[in-house]
Amino acid sequence: MASTPRRLKRSGLTMPIVTPRFINNAWHRGCDFINMDLEDSVPPNLKDVARNLVRESIPVVNKGGSDAVCRINHDLMEADLNAAIWPGITQVNYPKAEYGHEIERMDEIITRLEAERGIRPGTVEIGANIETAVGVANAYEIVTASARVMDFGGAAGYDMSRDLGVEMFVSFDQFVYGKGEVELAARAAGREPHAAPFTPNITGSVSDPDRAFAEADAARKCGFRIGGGLHPAVVEPQIRGFASSDDEISDAQWVLQEYRKLARTGTTWVQIDVSTVDREGSPRPMGADSYLGRHRVIDRYEASRAEELLQWRDLCRERDEEKAEAVARVRASEAE
């Protein structure tokens, strides 16, 4: 499979493809991806109509630089894939994944359609979402069924709650076991886990920007990189929440500087009380009252995290510039 550059998925809107005002306005929302839905937001009598809209909607949603992705129906997989796999589609989201053979079948169909429709082999990734107990039980089999599964998560949310017969919006984490199984499977298979630390949510609001920021901020600090939502009001807070702050960037540079010093000594770790470090100039550690704490250990693990943080900063910056330029091009051509 051809290697593709890492695709950022900090924020994305899932919207019914049969609602033109959503699709036509999505391009300037600033999303990393736009998830054109054929599944739960499309009523059964409109599924055929919806399928016929995917191909023409791809250039509409990605003219502002967002990736065009499509969520298909679990029970209509073949017909939906046939409608969705066109040049410009970067990912197909597969809900209620339950067995490895489903993903193998998807891979076969996508491989054929890529070849028939002039798409470079391996371009289209699969987002497999676990939403049932059967899917939890088969998590590793599902994530390893195709190298295209680059986005793997779930075991929470509306459908999982229904499957288990539990209330979704509560103040505690009712999905510890299932989410753990799915995340462990993703990590064991070397795929990016689509997960986030638990944050209490008892309102169920889909448009609360403060909550969207808090969730993305907690996810970023835990090392997670994938977001998404249903309402335009959450896009900007998610992008902001997944962005490393200037203080974190300076801190990462400080960690790497200290690690280089350490490496010359032959010892493998050192603990530094950051309250005793001169915090003038740069790079400098985050303060003793920051979420990283006062007593900081410098070792290869912290150095690795710091390197990842700086790479992430660069990726985010490049992606934001790419989208801003795309939006500016559209605005300029509309003005002419």
């Binding site: 753990g180 630390p197 600090k221 090392g223």
Partner: protein
């Protein structure tokens, strides 16, 4: 509660490349000293560390500790060749991931045992399931060798890059800890670990936080834990030893059960408004027995310091 065959509450990991740490380790009072070749030894220092290891084994046991050597499975042949000598009690395998890997470790140890005059099967294995794959393969990994006595998550928080959640819990660790304790019980091995929270990382914590982590860890089934600093040993020993009040309560349950069953055929009794069943009585007896084993272990270590050798309990 399953009674561990041996009392191993505190496992002090000591880099072999730091002679001053190796010399100081016996006085910390650990049940097990883990001479490390893997995690805390710089690559450039590893050849010299392996050279010096054999001479560290008996001195490390001078205060009654058992001695394990911690190896890197990617370097298993060199590390095991340096470690398997008379005096060695066991091997800690970092980043244990597959059954094949553990079978290879087992075979090398068997060969070295026979060539170097150790009793066959005398070298035990403690496996650190620190990677996602190792945890995923946990059952196969932990049953790959009959030498395996203990399982732990090692420094999974660092190896798997698991970071603190807003609650202070380390992401995914509650799931992984319960999974490991269950796995250990299913495979007849002893689960090692403590319930660390932010700001603790990589087995590194203050003595106060170490005690808290040990008490929480024992409550969910762990029987002992690794640590990296001398001052963590005492809190681990304390946290993993049943408290006096627990032991007194357990004695009370044992006596109540014994006297009731002696006088009748009760299987479910009420004592102080609590249910007492045969299993609860058995658990209380286990607490008493484990407490006594801890005392015996501590007396053995004191005797070793005093130069009065007694058999390892």
């Amino acid at each position: 509660m399953t009674i561990p065959a041996k009392v191993r509450r505190s496992w002090l990991v000591t880099p072999v490349s730091q002679p001053e740490r190796v010399s100081a380790a016996p006085s910390a009072g650990a049940d097990v000293i883990v001479l490390d070749l893997a995690e805390f030894v710089a690559e450039s220092d590893k050849p010299a560390a392996r050279e010096s290891l054999r001479d560290c084994l008996f001195p490390a046991k001078s205060t009654g500790a058992e001695v394990f050597v911690q190896i890197d499975p990617e370097l298993m042949l060199a590390d095991l060749s340096a470690a398997v000598w008379p005096g060695l009690d066991g091997i800690v395998v970092t980043r244990a991931e597959t059954a094949e890997q553990i079978m290879a470790v087992d075979a090398i140890i068997s060969d070295l045992e026979s060539r170097r005059g150790l009793s066959p099967g005398s070298v035990a294995l403690a496996l650190n399931l620190e990677t996602a794959l190792g945890n995923h393969n946990g059952f196969e990994v932990s049953t790959a060798s009959s030498r395996t006595c203990c399982l732990s998550l090692g420094r999974a928080d660092l190896v798997m890059d698991l970071r603190p959640e807003p609650s202070g819990e380390i992401h995914l660790m509650q799931y992984l800890m319960q999974r490991l304790v269950t796995l250990a019980s299913a495979t007849g091995t002893v689960p090692l670990g403590a319930w660390w929270r932010f700001p603790d990382r990589g087995l590194h914590a203050t003595p106060e936080n170490t005690l808290e982590a040990a008490l929480r860890g024992r409550a969910i089934g762990f029987k002992g834990s690794f640590c990296v600093l001398d001052n963590q040993v005492r809190p681990l020993n304390e946290g993993f030893t049943p408290s006096e009040s627990e032991v007194a309560a357990a004695h009370g349950l044992c006596e109540a059960y014994a006297s009731a069953t002696a006088s009748g055929t009760f299987t479910v009794l009420c004592v102080d408004d609590r249910v007492l069943t045969p299993d609860i009585a058995r658990q209380a007896a286990n607490t008493v027995a484990f407490s006594e084993a801890c005392s015996t272990r501590d007396r053995f270590k004191i005797a070793a310091v005093d130069g009065v050798p007694i058999p390892v309990p």
